[in-house]
Symmetry: C3
Subunit: 260 residues, 3 copies
């Protein structure tokens, strides 16, 4: 039997915190801060099973939604940039993606954090293509949105018969998901945080299924995601997530649709 010791756990936590925040980690002065070091950083962020890049995306999306103080959101942005897990251009795409899945208010919080940290680090502006630079045919945009939806969700959408569905078709899939500046797996982790936070049954089920059915996210990564997400959003929200992840792992393995 090997005993684990508190000093090693704390040292590992401080080292991981420094990596995750891109700054010197502080010795805790309260019980809460101790748990941040000894559980969240020492025991969660150090686990295998989910790439560090994904952990940063989950952390940033959750922190923006949770309305944390600027400096805390800045910490994760700085950590992602200084560890080269995400580029400035990718973070700009991430802020837009978060806006779609949790509202423009939360997306703006992340975007402004990226602006603050880019200034702090003296980074030059990112080269990010505009949403549209050429005139477009509205019919073609609708068709592009339809095709992108089918690819991302792994099933075709119904007709855009309501204002909400037209917005999904035109902008969410017809413009945003088609952008190439952020890879699909990264977009999935932001999407998953957004749908979890909504607590809405159909988006939760369909997006968890699609994340795996598309091949973007592996079952073990999804299970590891539930733990990482739990530290940001609390165990009750992560509990709902894990129930659906377990259900959808089975359905994807059996080739069933999310509502099957």
């Amino acid at each position: 039997m090997t005993l684990l010791d508190p000093a090693s756990r704390s040292a590992r936590g401080l080292a991981t915190e420094a990596e995750a925040t891109g700054r010197t980690a502080h010795e805790p002065t309260t019980l809460f801060e101790e748990s941040w070091r000894d559980f969240v950083f020492a025991e969660v962020w150090t686990r295998p099973g989910l790439p560090r890049r994904a952990r940063f995306l989950v952390a940033m999306a959750s922190a923006a939604i949770c309305g944390l103080e600027d400096r805390q959101l800045d910490d994760f942005v700085r950590g992602a940039l200084t560890s080269n897990e995400l580029s400035l251009a990718e973070l700009r795409e991430a802020a837009l993606h978060l806006a779609v899945y949790s509202g423009w208010g939360n997306g703006g919080r992340l975007d402004r954090a990226v602006t603050r940290v880019a200034a702090e680090l003296g980074l030059p502006p990112a080269d990010v293509p505009p949403i549209r630079s050429e005139p477009w045919d509205p019919e073609e945009r609708i068709q592009q949105g339809h095709d992108e939806f089918a690819k991302v969700m792994t099933f075709p959408p119904g007709p855009p018969a309501t204002p909400y569905l037209l917005g999904i078709n035109n902008f969410v899939f017809g413009e945003m998901w088609r952008r190439r500046g952020l890879d699909e797996p990264s977009r999935r982790w932001i999407t998953l945080v957004g749908v979890c936070e909504s607590g809405a049954d159909i988006p939760i089920k369909s997006h968890i299924h699609a994340a795996m059915a598309s091949g973007n996210c592996k079952p073990d990564e999804m299970l590891e995601f539930c733990l990482q997400y739990g530290t940001h959003a609390g165990w009750p929200k992560a509990s709902r997530m894990q129930m659906v992840v377990l259900e959808m792992i089975r359905k994807v393995q059996e080739g069933l649709p999310w509502h099957g």
Copy 2:
């Protein structure tokens, strides 16, 4: 086939942003800000189907719940006041209404924004009647709450047999909904944002049904609301909303109750 062009879309977005915020709109410097101009303001706020007044109420309620920075909530309050879509007295009522449907913390955020913007614009204090100015009979208050509930929800309440139900009866319906300083349709939009954000099935269904069964909100307005709400709260929350709106449009048309 008519092509649409990016420059026209952007110009329309900037003009709409100026109206919605009561200040000069800024040229975007990031992708996120570009989407705010080219999608949210150019393509959503300009749509017919939902009065601008309703869009302001949805925007303010959502921004308060989302915990946005003061200046962003202030923008919508300023826009509503300078475009004469809502008066200062109506905004005071709106803050109280929001407190009931999303908690006093969020109501206070809106109330303080109203105070800040009123000072900025040099407005005199609004003439708002107190909650009670005369002595009252507790039994009569219970009866008044009962009657107001029946009118607003379009079905009679059960007996106020628990502390929570007594609070609903006494204050929510017996005092707040009976106030005449804000019209019923306006109260509906705030209520709908509050119930959506809660994710609670029964309030969502019963209030969406009552908004239409009362004649306060039309089916097409409700569908347009889902898109506007989606920009503030994200597509997953708006998805849940739209599912129930479609279900309740049918029920109201067939004369069925919400739980029918």
Copy 3:
């Protein structure tokens, strides 16, 4: 018939606000502030049926989750300390507990409020034991988490077969719930606010059931909690809570499990 009069209600509200915030209460200048005095403080906080200590825990947990301004969260912390309803050491435990049930971001908000108010009041640092001071056997920690879960939830957990469940076992029950610096009933109120806010069905049902089945919380206290919670989170969220409370009161009385 006894008439109630507005002046008495307002005076009672101001006196209660002073107790709840540990500072002089201000005369309201807006309708919203009037409702805070005349309904929330005069008619809710003064009710019997839920100890003042529990109301403070609900208020602080809700205010942290709601992302209120620092000074508002500070108010409840100051009120709890100056009225001796909660000690500084208990508040440190409460912040950690809140982190687990609503995410480390929200827990940190409460912890920093406690730090600010402790400095304001000139309190010496609390004597709070560390999470671990001695080396530990990982197998023994898993067993301890298992046993603590069974005691707190009143039913045994399944095996810790996923990262999320391992985190629940190791830290949530294996370390946090086993701490003796905050009593179980107090932990229940924080837990209940966390699960309510999540909107997640299984945590809501299982924790409401366990709060009563354990003997920690009485049915009448749970019903009173729904009203107090409603003022912080809005009536829709409290509505969901009360539905489940009523269901679980019956199940606990009949000796049935939460999912029975």
